[in-house]
Amino acid sequence: MKVYLDNSATTAVAPEVIEAMLPFLSADFGNAQSVHSFGQGAKAAVEKGRRQVASLLNAAPAEIVFVSGGTEADNLALRGICNAHMKYGRHIITTSIEHPAVLATCEELERSGFRVTYLPISSRGLVNVNDLRAAIAADTILISVMHANNETGTVQPIEKIAHVVASARAQGSRHLHFHTDAVQSTGKISIDVKRLGVDLLSLSGHKIHAPKGVGALFVRKGVRLARISFGGHQERDRRPGTENVPGIVALGRAAEYASANSDSGPARMRELRDYLEQQIIARCEGVQVNGDVERRVPNISNLSFRGVDGESLLIALDLRGIAVSTGSACASGSLEPSHVLTALGLSRQEVRGSLRFSLSVYTTRDEIDYAVSALEETLERLRGMLPSEGPETRESVVSDL
């Protein structure tokens, strides 16, 4: 049995989405900028996709900029705001648990003369709104706080932060902007940009059953955003380059699917996620839930398994057809433990033994049952291999490395 529980990494493309995009890979291949019928058909498809994405976010179609994915959306938001407003200030506020697309962009902005405040988080994974309020300075032009965290699923108090931003603006911070990375929350919890009160919001197609290579940035009407790449006049001069018509059609269809299932999809994921967690806790010893149990997206469960290495668990589960991910340092070559779990205050051992399970609307109860049984056996086997605690161990001589 194959069980994919790594939907926060990427999702399967929905059959409806494939069906919608296929014509634009064959007969309807036109360039949306062309004046002839091929081009006009493509343009109509792009604009339909824009309306579909706007509808999911309760935005206006003109506020949607199509990009290549979450990373480009974050880069465009941060660098676009900074480049356009740097004469009013060079201070940014973000958090220590953002996705690398935001953190690395902030680091690059620091190299070009911006100051960045990285807010810490509580042991539940939440930003303290008072800390954020206190961090706003006269020259702050941008606040970027992710909607839901990609490792723990913890949902940040975006609306409260928006209130802080609004009152700061009322007190004179006219050039303050608020961005959120909603890559992990799109399709999982309701996103209404008017209610959230954000100026910019990033989303990615492949996390919501569209293919890789397409995403969108919501830019509130009236927000001045500088270009960060140069070329043609596509996307109202905000993102040059020939439109990815099949990708945009797919993203639009996936957004429509998420809108139509905005109640049933998340409810189903939540039920199965909670079932998965309850089963694991009931059947396995030494398990803890990481992050805020209440304030999280319905499809993610981040757990630490006492005594074992997350990557060994991951590989052993993979050999049984089950795909998950880990914050363990050793995983996938990074050799650095998860910055998110570390920021939560988890011990080295807790980070090392962490696994992330992330579900989709396609996950079934049978898959969960199979995964829990395999996990229980695997855990028992790995724990059976552990040397007992003892003073006899000595440090390895690493001289012949």
């Binding site: 074992v308 590989i315 086997r381 552990l386 040397p387 003892g390 161990t393 440090e395 690493v398």
Partner: protein, 119 residues
């Protein structure tokens, strides 16, 4: 990312456990990543006749510990003393460069167990 051999050792680790009354014990921990291998060996004459291992760590550490036991059981001490990390990595197909320390840890455990036996 890992070879078929590494995966096989993860799925079916060999000679897991601890010998009773071993001739030697090699119990080593990597101070950086905290991976640990505990090897118990029985030596009769100039031959290593049995070994059991316990391991705590990432997949290559577990695989290296498991593979090590297969390499050493039944071998002469002269042969065993010539083993180094490449003996282990060859048994595993290969290891990513960043994981070479796992093979080093296994060899360290081996050397420590032999030292404690002949002491």
């Amino acid at each position: 990312m890992y070879t078929r051999q590494v995966a096989d050792h993860i799925a079916n680790p060999r000679n897991v456990g601890e010998l009773r009354d071993p001739s030697g014990i090699g119990d080593v921990t990597n101070a950086v990543c905290m991976d640990r291998i505990r090897l118990t060996v029985r030596i009769e004459g100039d031959r290593l006749v049995d070994a059991k291992v316990k391991a705590d760590g990432c997949p290559p550490t577990i695989a290296a510990a498991s593979a090590l036991t297969e390499l050493i059981i039944g071998r002469s001490l002269v042969e065993i003393r010539s083993f180094d990390r490449t003996t282990v990595t060859e048994a595993l197909g290969r290891l990513p460069a960043a994981k070479m320390h796992c093979a080093v840890l296994a060899i360290d455990a081996l050397r420590a167990s032999i030292e404690s036996a002949v002491r």
